[in-house]
Point group: C2
DNA sequence: CATGTTAATTACGAAAAGTAAGTGTTACTA
DNA sequence: TAGTAACACTTACTTTTCGTAATTAACATG
């Protein structure tokens, strides 16, 4: 096989990691802390932790520790992460135009 | 937990299905047949078959059978699928600006 | 010193996704 | 009738990933 486009493949590999899209979507609202994101998203703390670590490693998310009581840790998008905003917006736009009410309901049913 | 945005979640669920992004990228070049895509992409025939079936079910890919010898089957993007072009282009653009040469190489190494 | 709070890690079984190889179908071709 | 091409489907097996729940860590508070 030939490589389509190594950069695209790498980017798509990141974006297609489960929950990464939703995490980015959530962080576009601004700085968030762990427990806040855990409440926003349908994933367990273990996965959220994994994904945040991945995104931090990739330079997409910044992690700031505030040594207060109790410890506060804020996650936010780096410049590289904010640069993904157009991607997220395009997905949102596509979803608004092409995802039907029925399709959304089917999804909801799968989750029970 | 609250739902961020059901349509976005549904769209992201699709786009974040492994290989779907690459398949769309490939099909943006135009109509392709199975074996051609198999050669373009780093996935097995079984998976390609699964993904194409999924995308067909979601109305993103059209499948046309030409009863020639030997049978020829062409896959292409539907209108709904072509509407994803801006998404793919934005990802490509982000990748071009933010994925470094080093990151691409790391990926390559992982694949051996 | 036990308790509460936020965040992260670990362990472990279950579920899902992956590969490779082989089989089936159809129909032309030699 | 054997061979071949394009594609789909099946089987057996391995590897990854997920989710729950328990545990750790740091630290202020009562």
């Amino acid at each position: 096989m030939e490589t389509l486009c190594p950069r695209f493949e790498k980017a798509m590999g990141l974006l297609s990691t489960r929950w990464v899209g939703l995490i980015l979507f959530d962080l576009l609202e601004g700085e968030k802390r762990f427990s806040e994101m855990e409440a926003d998203l349908p994933i367990s703390g273990r996965l959220l932790s994994d994904r945040l670590k991945l995104l931090e490693k990739e330079g997409i998310v910044d992690r700031k520790i505030y040594s207060e009581f109790p410890v506060r840790i804020e996650y936010s998008l780096s410049e590289k992460g904010r640069a993904l905003e157009p991607v997220i917006k395009e997905i949102q736009s596509w979803a608004d135009h092409h995802i039907t009410h029925e399709e959304v309901n089917e999804e909801a049913q799968l989750k029970g």
